[in-house]
Symmetry: C2
Subunit: 328 residues, 2 copies
């Protein structure tokens, strides 16, 4: 098989639901080669009319909260209904941690073998901007391949949550009972982005603690300002082990879709996300061309040191760099 197919071969393969070709197309979106990026953009533009029909759900939670097990159990419930599911991951840190999420496919053994599920690990060795751009494209390609639910998983510790929030319809936060300790890892601001908090591992001895956590988080969310979607964030216990709460979580997603499609937020939000994506791409390219410039890269460390120490004003440093860049 040749390393690169013709654009039309990718397009036909994706639209016919060929997973191998879908995978190879997603690999193109992860490539840093301009020629690959160009083909990827061409494929995307061609399949665009076949995108947009899935529900896109972001999932986050600190390591140890049981995200993979939850996705396995939740996802199997979806495919048992005959629906096609895609699981993507965003993890710009995985090059450092050695592929902490989805890198090890055995963590989603059942889903990986499920013919209705497509599981894609996070691209590694890439910046958050690159991972984000690739994942946005992967969502659309998965939709064109007929997946009705796209889950985008991220670890709850970094910048990637905002990125995932901005490319999905619904944002799910997994927590554990015993509010306090497990919060250590969650970044501030993430709780206010959540459309729902699921208290995971609500089984056995944990059941009572999960109930208490549910009440606590409900009270806390009640103090937050209302979301633009008109949706009131929900808090529910769940267990990947016993299956508790999994059907309810799916019903909740359906309720959310119905509400926001009726009040117009669903479409408006996606339109806004499309526009943001365009502007983000522009910003990223502008920054890449600036910070990638050899002369700038050479000057930057000294100027950063001077700014950090307070010897040079941030404004003067920026002016010096911009003047130099304009001359190049």
């Amino acid at each position: 098989m040749p390393r690169r197919l013709l654009p039309q071969q990718y397009i036909d393969g994706i639209l016919s639901g060929d997973r191998l070709i879908l995978s190879r197309a997603i690999t193109l979106t992860e490539s840093r080669l301009p020629s690959d990026q160009e083909i990827a953009a061409e494929i995307l533009q061609a399949v665009l009319p076949h995108t947009g029909f899935s529900l896109r759900v972001g999932i986050t939670g600190v390591p140890g909260v049981g995200k993979s097990t939850f996705i396995e159990a939740f996802g199997s419930q979806i495919t048992a209904q005959g629906k096609k599911l895609a699981v993507l991951a965003i993890d710009p840190t995985s090059q450092r941690s050695g592929g902490s999420i989805l890198g090890d496919k055995t963590r989603m053994d059942n889903l990986s073998r499920d013919p209705l599920a497509y599981v894609r690990p996070s691209p590694t060795g890439n910046s958050l901007g690159g991972v984000t751009a690739s994942t946005r494209q992967a969502i659309l390609l998965c939709e064109a391949a007929g997946h009705e639910l796209v889950l985008v998983e991220t670890v709850g510790v970094g910048q990637s949550e905002t990125a995932v929030r901005n490319m999905t319809d619904f944002f799910l936060l997994l927590m554990l009972a015993g509010a306090g300790d497990e919060l250590q890892g969650i970044k501030r601001g993430i709780m206010e982005m959540a459309d729902a908090i699921l208290i995971n591992k609500a089984d056995g001895e944990n059941t009572a603690a999960a109930k208490r956590a549910q009440a606590d988080y409900r009270n806390a969310l009640h103090l937050f300002p209302p979301a633009a979607s008109g949706w009131t964030p929900e808090v529910m216990p769940c267990s990947a082990l016993t299956g508790t709460g999994l059907p309810e979580a799916w019903q909740m997603l359906e309720r959310y879709r119905q509400l926001t499609q009726q009040n117009g937020f669903f479409t408006r939000n996606r339109q806004d996300q499309n526009l943001s994506w365009m502007h983000e791409t522009i910003r990223r390219e502008l920054e890449d061309s600036f910070y990638g410039n050899p002369r700038i890269r050479q000057l930057l460390p000294d100027l950063q040191r001077a700014v950090r120490s307070g010897g040079l004003s941030s404004l003067q440093a920026a002016r010096q760099l911009l003047d130099r860049w304009r001359k190049e």
Copy 2:
């Protein structure tokens, strides 16, 4: 008096605490003329060794929460101790709302007449980026002029809170008792940025409700992840009318400064802010040069429409614009 002084005259005036010259220097930072911006940057660089000694406090809250009255009462308490206070405002919406904050100086009658207080309304007719850049400079100029406390006020409804959070040491959120209704206006995410929540108008019939609100918010904040500063956000009632809580608020700021200076966060945070400022300035200039380009301005509306409607992929639209820009 000539419209522009010599740079050295601005510098000497600021360092000697001359308010009129301080005001004129801040006006330079608000100017969009490159020549003014250049002088402003030169002045800033010259006074830089005399900056950094104040405590920078951001204050937000929805209209009606009593920010101006609070700042009057709180500020008078500071100047009564012989300390110099500066009050700046960020309000990128003021051109639309007709100068909603600080525009009407009579709202801070006492402080405006107080020789130890310097009150500066928000620059109008400017973008958030411009207002932010100018306010960052104004903070430093006020410090060089000997102000020990700099309050930066913003309305709690927009993007400006993050900007203020990123240029101050401490972020204060004013709320009213009766959690719920008054939240309508506050943007999501702001509560998690707060280092303290003051329940304002805790007087007369409101006293009991303020106590309840204090308990509610304390419980809610308890569920948030800990801040990088090592500081636990505090919630306290206060009243600009009776003076309740005002000395306590000042003591809290002192406690915060002491804690974060000891654990190193205070300095580290400011160094990070300086670096961010440099990068933000660069980003803003890059974007201005892109979006200000006449050819881009001409192409943008049609492409935005196509992206919004889903006919053109965000990626293709970005590529088209960037290709055009590179050719210019």
